[in-house]
């Protein structure tokens, strides 16, 4: 891997981590566990459209691991990994179907899959189907949060890539 790319990925991991930690400090809007904006997803969606799946996976899992370490909530690591893995797999598969103008859709599906992954792990850990009652609420919040982060990612990617094009045109 070229140093250029490695630096970019490191920088993005760092950015995602900062967003993740800052978001943890925000008060919860809805008192339902699992409902959150997931702002760090902006970086993941941006990476899906800019880097290869393997590079995105590296970024995402370093962020999840370090995020769990820095927030001191290692209990939540399994939920994050399951959610992150499912979200990542879904987004990589959908990447072919959705072009850059439909990034929001990728993000919506990613968010929804993330919630499904977390509920699945919770069901396994608790050995109870009771948590399934949370799923519809989480699906709705996932759709809204995913839409929001997706639109953010779309704006970010559009601006970053147009700047890149301008730079290469100047040369």
């Amino acid at each position: 891997m070229k140093v250029n790319k490695l630096t970019k990925l490191g920088l993005l991991t760092c950015l995602a981590l900062i967003i993740f930690i800052v978001e943890l400090r925000l008060p919860d809007v809805v008192p339902v566990p699992g409902v959150k904006l997931g702002l760090a997803n902006i970086i993941t969606v941006y990476c899906i459209y800019t880097f290869t799946p393997a590079e995105t996976a590296m970024m995402l899992f370093s962020r999840i691991l370090l995020g769990a370490l820095f927030s001191g909530n290692l209990m939540a690591l399994w939920y994050s990994i399951a959610g992150g893995a499912l979200c990542f797999a879904g987004m990589v598969l959908l990447r072919r179907a959705a072009d850059e103008k439909n990034m929001w859709f990728l993000s919506v599906i990613g968010a929804v899959l993330h919630n499904i992954g977390q509920i699945t792990v919770a069901m396994i850990v608790l050995k109870s189907k009771a948590v399934l009652g949370y799923l519809p609420v989480l699906l709705i919040s996932g759709c809204i949060a995913g839409l929001f982060t997706g639109i953010c990612a779309q704006l970010v990617t559009g601006r970053l890539n147009s700047r890149r094009k301008n730079k290469s045109a100047e040369k």
């Binding site: 919860d28 008192p31 339902v32 566990p33 001191g72 909530n73 209990m75 179907a97 959705a98 072009d99 103008k101 439909n102 929001w104 859709f105 919506v108 929804v112 919770a122 850990v125 608790l126 050995k127 109870s128 189907k129 009771a130 948590v131 399934l132 009652g133 949370y134 799923l135 519809p136 609420v137 699906l139 709705i140 759709c143 839409l147």
Partner: protein, 119 residues
């Protein structure tokens, strides 16, 4: 353009299905019986109509949860876990259980969950 329309349709469909699911869960009659279970095992089965006031202590690997039943309402009043999500959940509602993930504790109405729909 067609791709975009399909995506909007899927998202709208997902939202609609979840909303209907939510309403369905909320409308379901709750019954009077609650179940407290830990690690998949049922610990207590309590009839709310016959229990005006009761506190229950549950332990898990040295950590403690206190559940309070008062006037037909159930809530978690104390938890040793780091996040206290179960306490913030407030009183038990028929559609969503009170869950303490670190202590593997679930409080739900006996009619709830998938078992309830099968009946």
């Amino acid at each position: 353009m067609t791709g975009r329309k399909i995506f909007i349709l899927i998202t709208a469909g997902l939202l609609a299905v979840s909303a209907v699911w939510c309403v369905y869960l909320a409308m379901r009659p709750a019954g009077e019986e609650i179940v407290i279970s830990q690690d998949g095992k049922e610990l207590y089965r309590i009839d709310l109509s016959r229990t005006p006031y009761r506190t229950i202590e549950v332990e898990y690997k040295g950590r403690k949860n206190v559940i309070e039943i008062k006037d037909g309402e159930v809530r978690m009043t104390h938890a040793d876990c780091p996040d206290h999500i179960c306490i913030e959940t407030g009183k038990l509602r028929p559609d969503t259980p009170i869950v303490c993930l670190p202590n593997r504790l679930v409080i739900e109405y006996a009619g709830g969950g998938l078992d309830g729909t099968a009946r």
